[in-house]
C-alpha cells in the first residue's frame, strides 16, 4: 500500500498516533482479512451458544432461535466451526 492523498497529512493529525475518539476500533473492519468464511446452517443450529462463547473476536450475533456471523469483524479463524457440537458451521473459501 502506498500514499493515500485522501487522508490527512502529518500536520493535521494528533501527535504520537494518539486517538482522541474512544472506541474507534469499531471503524476498523477486520472482516476483509478472512480467507475462509463460516456459514451457519440455521436448520442445524441448536442455539447452544458455544460459538458465541469461543469466538475470539465477538463476531457471533445471538438471534432468537439461532446465531449469525458478523462478517464485518469475523476474521475466519474457524474456532466456531471447530467447537460447534452439531456441525452447523462450515468453513467455505472466500471467492475474491
Amino acid at each position: 500500500m502506498g500514499l493515500s492523498e485522501s487522508k490527512p497529512g502529518w500536520k493535521s493529525i494528533p501527535m504520537g498516533g494518539i486517538l482522541l475518539e474512544p472506541g474507534s476500533a469499531l471503524n476498523y473492519k477486520t472482516g476483509d482479512w478472512r480467507a475462509f468464511k463460516p456459514i451457519v446452517d440455521q436448520n442445524k443450529c441448536t442455539n447452544c451458544l458455544l460459538c458465541w462463547i469461543f469466538c475470539p473476536d465477538a463476531a457471533i450475533n445471538r438471534l432468537e432461535k439461532f446465531v449469525e456471523v458478523n462478517y464485518d469483524y469475523c476474521k475466519g479463524c474457524g474456532v466456531c466451526a471447530n467447537e460447534c457440537p452439531v456441525k452447523a458451521i462450515t468453513m467455505v473459501e472466500e471467492k475474491r
Partner: protein, 392 residues
C-alpha cells in the same frame, strides 16, 4: 543565589532531579550510574521529595513504567547505562513515538562483549536514531545544569520528546567537584509544573499506542522529525532563561579559540576538558588550535558547528564509539555530512579513542593537535580514520 557543594556527576544529576519536583522515578541500578538512583532513593526514603519511586526488575520495565507515568501527565525521570540502555532500546522508540518527555540520566559505558564497566559512548550512540534529544555534559556542574534544563526542553509542547543527559562513566560519574547549585525554590520557579497536552484520564478517554499501518505510520515519524527541528528554538529559549537565572551560559556547542585557529578538535563529554587544557598550553606557545564541544548531539547543531569551523583549515573529530564498517564514527559522519552540504572544503580526519574506558591523555591530544596543524599546512589527510591509544 547559588551555593557550592561537593557532588559527583551521579550525585549532581540526582540533586538536580530532587529539585525538579519529579512525580515518578522508575529505574534500575547499573554501574557506573547506580549512585544516581541510589542517591535519589535516599531522598525518597528521607521524605525530601514527594516522588513515587518504582523499583522495577529491569531497564526494559523501568522505561515502560516511565512511559505509562509520563502519559498520565507526570514529570518523569529514569537513569541507566550501557547494557541497561541497550535493554531499554525498544522502549526508547516507544517513549519518543508516544511523545513522552522523560528525562534520562546516562553514565556512558562500553557495551559487551567483552564485558567492561568503563566509559565510552557506544551505549548512547547505539540509541542514536531512537528519536531522543541527546545532551553530553563535560563535568558534574554541566550535568546538574543540563538536567534541570532538560525537563524544560522535554516538556515544552513544541518538543515532547525524551531527553538524555549523558556523562562519561567514572571520570565524571564518580569524580567529586564543587558544583554550584540553585536554591530549591529557584528551580521550582524555573520549571513550574508540567503542563501536559494530552493525558490518559478517565474523564476524557484517549487511545495511546494504537496500530498504525502503511497509511499513517510515516506521518507520525514525519512529526517526530519536526519535533526535533522545533526543539532548536526551545533549547535556545531555555538556555537563555537559565543564563538569566544562573549566569551560566549554555547553548548547542561550546568553543575555545576558534576565532583565530588553524586546526581544531571536536569531541563530546569529558575529553573536551582535557582538549581545552592542552589547547590553552599550545596556544601559549603560539600554536593556533581550537576546541569545539557539542553539548547536543541530537538535535545535531549543524549551523553552530559550521559557524565554529569557519576559519579553520583542518579538523580532527574524536569519536568515543566505533561504527564498525562505517567510513567514520557517528559524530564525524554527521560533521562531514554538514560540511559537504554547505560546500565547506575543510580537511577532516577522525580519531576513535577511549573505548572501554581507555584514557585519552594530554599527550594523545597534543599529538592530534599537531597532526591537525600539519594537515592544515599541507592540506593533505594521510589517515582519515585513526585509532588513538590502541596497541598494534
Amino acid at each position: 543565589m547559588s551555593r557550592l557543594i561537593g557532588l559527583t556527576g551521579n550525585e549532581a544529576i540526582a540533586y538536580a532531579v530532587k529539585q525538579s519536583n519529579v512525580d515518578v522515578v522508575a529505574a534500575y541500578p547499573i554501574t557506573p550510574q547506580t549512585i544516581m538512583v541510589e542517591a535519589f532513593s535516599g531522598y525518597v526514603h528521607d521524605g525530601e521529595v514527594n516522588t513515587e519511586f518504582i523499583c522495577v526488575e529491569s531497564e526494559h520495565s523501568a522505561m515502560s513504567a516511565c512511559i505509562g507515568a509520563s502519559l498520565t501527565g507526570a514529570r518523569v525521570f529514569t537513569a541507566t547505562s550501557s547494557q541497561g540502555l541497550a535493554l531499554m532500546h525498544e522502549m526508547l522508540y516507544i517513549a519518543s513515538g508516544l511523545r513522552c518527555p522523560i528525562v534520562m540520566g546516562v553514565a556512558n559505558r562500553a557495551l559487551s562483549a567483552p564485558i567492561n564497566i568503563h566509559a565510552d559512548h557506544s551505549d548512547m550512540m547505539g540509541s542514536r536514531d531512537c528519536g531522543l534529544i541527546q545532551i553530553y555534559g563535560e563535568s558534574a556542574q554541566e550535568a546538574y545544569d543540563w538536567t534541570i534544563q532538560a525537563f524544560k526542553i522535554a516538556e515544552d509542547p513544541k518538543v515532547l520528546l525524551p531527553v538524555s543527559v549523558n556523562i562519561d562513566g567514572w571520570s565524571i560519574s564518580f569524580s567529586m567537584e564543587g558544583v554550584k547549585v540553585l536554591e530549591d525554590d529557584e528551580v521550582t520557579k524555573f520549571l513550574s509544573t508540567r503542563k501536559p497536552v494530552l493525558t490518559i484520564s478517565s474523564d476524557r478517554p484517549i487511545t495511546v499506542g494504537a496500530l498504525c499501518l502503511t497509511d499513517y505510520y510515516f506521518e507520525m515519524k514525519r512529526q517526530q522529525v519536526e519535533a526535533l527541528k522545533d526543539s532548536y528554538s526551545v533549547i535556545e529559549d531555555v538556555t537563555k532563561e537559565y543564563e538569566a537565572l544562573t549566569g551560566e551560559r549554555y547553548g548547542f556547542i561550546e568553543t575555545y579559540g576558534v576565532e583565530d585557529a588553524e586546526a581544531g578538535i571536536v569531541c563530546l563529554g569529558s575529553a573536551a576538558g582535557t582538549a581545552k587544557a592542552v589547547a590553552k598550553n599550545l596556544r601559549s606557545k603560539g600554536k593556533k588550535v581550537a576546541v569545539i564541544k557539542p553539548w547536543f548531539y541530537r538535535p545535531f547543531p549543524m549551523e553552530d558547528i559550521l559557524k565554529a569551523v569557519e576559519n579553520l583549515k583542518a579538523l580532527a573529530v574524536l569519536d568515543r564509539a566505533c561504527s564498525f564498517g562505517a567510513p567514520y564514527g557517528a559524530l564525524c559522519s554527521d560533521i562531514t555530512a554538514a560540511l559537504y552540504q554547505y560546500g565547506k572544503d575543510l580537511k577532516v580526519f577522525n580519531g576513535i579513542y577511549g573505548l572501554g574506558g581507555r584514557d585519552i591523555t594530554p599527550f594523545d591530544i597534543e599529538a592530534i593537535f599537531n597532526e591537525a596543524l600539519e594537515v592544515a599546512k599541507t592540506e593533505l589527510v594521510k589517515e582519515s580514520l585513526k585509532f588513538i591509544g590502541v596497541r598494534e
